[in-house]
Point group: C2
Chain length 388, copies 2
């Protein structure tokens, strides 16, 4: 029987998601000469609708150029299929003659694969290949896409710190991350010394108090003459509500099809800015919402991230030969290696920052967190200490 | 007489402003062995207060590390001195025994130098060395700092375009620039083809109409399935009022000491997002305010920009020997060269984008603008065309 691989990309794109795609294509072609490799446009939508790109036909050179390009080349989707939708996907896979379906994405994507694997009953291998800038997949030491996005964030905070040394004030950078604070914590990766930004780090793993926040900022300003804050868009108050929900009028809140409040806009940023203006009048305060800039930025594609994403793709083909599952990046004996874990272990679960990554009494990352970040993100720059 | 150079940095920092500083220091030390070179902390404030760093004492290696560091190492200031303030600066310069004062900054900085030169009456050489990400200095082909910031913006729009091909919608990126649209127009520098972002470009040089804007966006969405917009924070309506002033409630507008409305916040972004939601309901629309991220970003220091900034610094010492003036970067016979022009020609004047840089009937840059951008910003990336 001819092997037919169907590959798709789901969820928010990353800078290296096409490395995983191309890793799978090249490995499938090498391992199974004559295999068909079909790319589905816009994730499971393309599978359902029979909307495929024939990836078998591309030259290695064309594929390598695709690999080096950020954001999902096949297009992506936010669809989270239910059982009925999954039936239409299965039908699409069977019509395409699929022997394996590799779906590159986050924990929702793993969830879709789990439903499909259970419904299909064994004739197709379902593989989830990891991808997320949020770094929130359980079973993984870190996820492809995270390091590149983290490098953008680390460089931005290093740079903004220098800017605010030159012209003092308060700066808050709001970073993507609904439930996990890894990407926000990466702001600290390239700190130079105890005085360096970010001076305060607010992540979804710790309850946010507006009163405590402005007190913290005031204390830092009086100590360092400036205060740089890294804040996750998903920070929540003690009662579990997203901060944006407590600060923004209800008629201004936007929800997605799943009822989740939209976090990536600037509303939170503006609310935080007003909070600072009310409580610390007269101090220059600026808030930037990083939004999409770190996610698939062509200027900060990290070579390690690219290599690991590619290897996750080649390993996904190996995983298909073993009947499917979820590819997880482990850190073993000083190296990152892909391993196969059951889909159910990853599906729909969220990995949070370990508790010891945060100092118990301060809104700041710990030495453990710094060690993790320094391992993933070796320092790329060594700026001079300003004269001020 | 021992030569004593006082050097200061003013206004918003850039990624290469320290190249100019170090270029001046090294040239002064080489040209005048034994010269004293003093750096004033926080611009003219440091001159007034006698707050100096002895730059003569640093090794070449230390200075080269400073040069490679973004944002004003001496600190900066937003002070725009009046005649009385200028008297205190002059006093500070004389107390330091200054024979030359090199002030690195934009058109306000040139203005300060002009006042000082007139008040001093010839015993000190006053030199303005150019610096601004806004690229808005007259007499200059382009300004040190612009290319690096432009590279950030060009890369960001190339990346966001790929992101929004994968997950379609409307995206607006708001870019610094009060009166000149160069940095916003740089969003187009790395367009790949007619379908590439930015699909619409709004700059202060053209009157903004909210109705026309949402119509434009609607037309692009129906043509390309997505719409990426580059917008200057300083866009203004037909009556000359800043757009942010027309969209944001008056009690939310912030003004600086000079009465200028603050533009760099996210208020404009939120107002634009609501405009899109009202007029194009049901279409995913996201606005990011780039804010400080392009300005002194350590990840996008352009080598040409760094070299030209350094050369502007060395030339400033030469300019001092000629009695002072403003250093201007000209483009002559295929090369960028520094020239000396009178302070009065640059002081307080704003260079706008040439009219032919914008298409007359569309919110888009022209072939002339693209040629200019491509000359300054050679394409750094060649991503593959996505399959969607």
């Amino acid at each position: 029987m001819t092997e037919t691989f169907v590959i798709a990309q789901g969820g928010g794109p990353t800078a290296v998601i096409n490395q995983t795609l191309v890793g799978s294509v090249l490995e499938a072609r090498q391992r199974y000469p004559g295999a068909r490799v079909l790319g589905a446009r816009h994730g499971v939508r393309g599978v359902r609708d029979g909307d495929f790109v024939d990836l078998s036909a591309l030259t290695d050179e064309e594929l390598k150029r695709v690999a080096a390009t950020p954001s999902a080349a096949l297009g992506s989707t936010r669809d989270k299929p239910d059982a009925a939708y999954c039936e239409t996907i299965l039908k699409g896979l069977r019509q395409a003659g699929a022997t394996a379906f590799i779906y590159i994405g986050g924990n929702d994507t793993a969830g879709t694969q789990q439903i499909l694997a259970e419904a299909a009953g064994g004739d197709i291998a379902f593989v989830h290949a990891p991808k997320t800038i949020d770094n929130d997949l359980v079973e993984n030491d870190h996820t492809p896409g995270f390091i590149s996005a983290a490098e953008f964030v680390a460089g931005a905070f290093l740079s903004v710190d220098l800017d605010f040394r030159a012209l003092p004030g308060i700066y808050v950078g709001i970073v993507m991350g609904r439930h996990a604070g890894f990407l926000t914590a990466a702001a600290a990766a390239w700190r130079q010394d105890e005085e360096s930004a970010p001076h305060l780090v607010y992540v979804p793993e710790r309850a946010f108090s507006a009163a405590r926040f402005t007190e913290d900022v005031r204390a830092i300003v009086s100590r360092h003459g400036r205060c740089i804050v890294a804040m996750s868009e998903g920070v929540a108050t003690e009662d579990g509500r997203a901060l944006v929900e407590t600060l923004v009028p209800p008629d201004r809140l936007e929800r997605d099809a799943h009822g989740n409040i939209r976090l990536s806009g600037g509303d939170l940023g503006m609310a935080v800015e007003r909070l600072l203006k009310d409580d610390l009048p007269g101090t220059r305060a600026r808030v930037d919402t990083f939004g999409y800039l770190p996610r698939g930025n062509i200027g900060t594609i990290n070579p390690t991230d690219a290599r690991e994403a590619f290897e996750a793709g080649t390993f996904a083909v190996e995983a298909a030969a073993h009947g499917g599952g979820s590819v997880a990046l482990r850190y073993e004996n000083g190296a990152t290696v892909p391993r196969l874990v059951p889909l159910a272990d990853v599906a729909g679960k969220t990995r949070h920052m370990p508790d010891d990554f945060l100092l118990p009494d301060a809104n700041q990352v710990s030495a453990q967190c710094m060690a993790y970040m320094e391992r993933l993100l070796p320092r790329r720059f060594d700026p001079a200490k300003p004269f001020v």
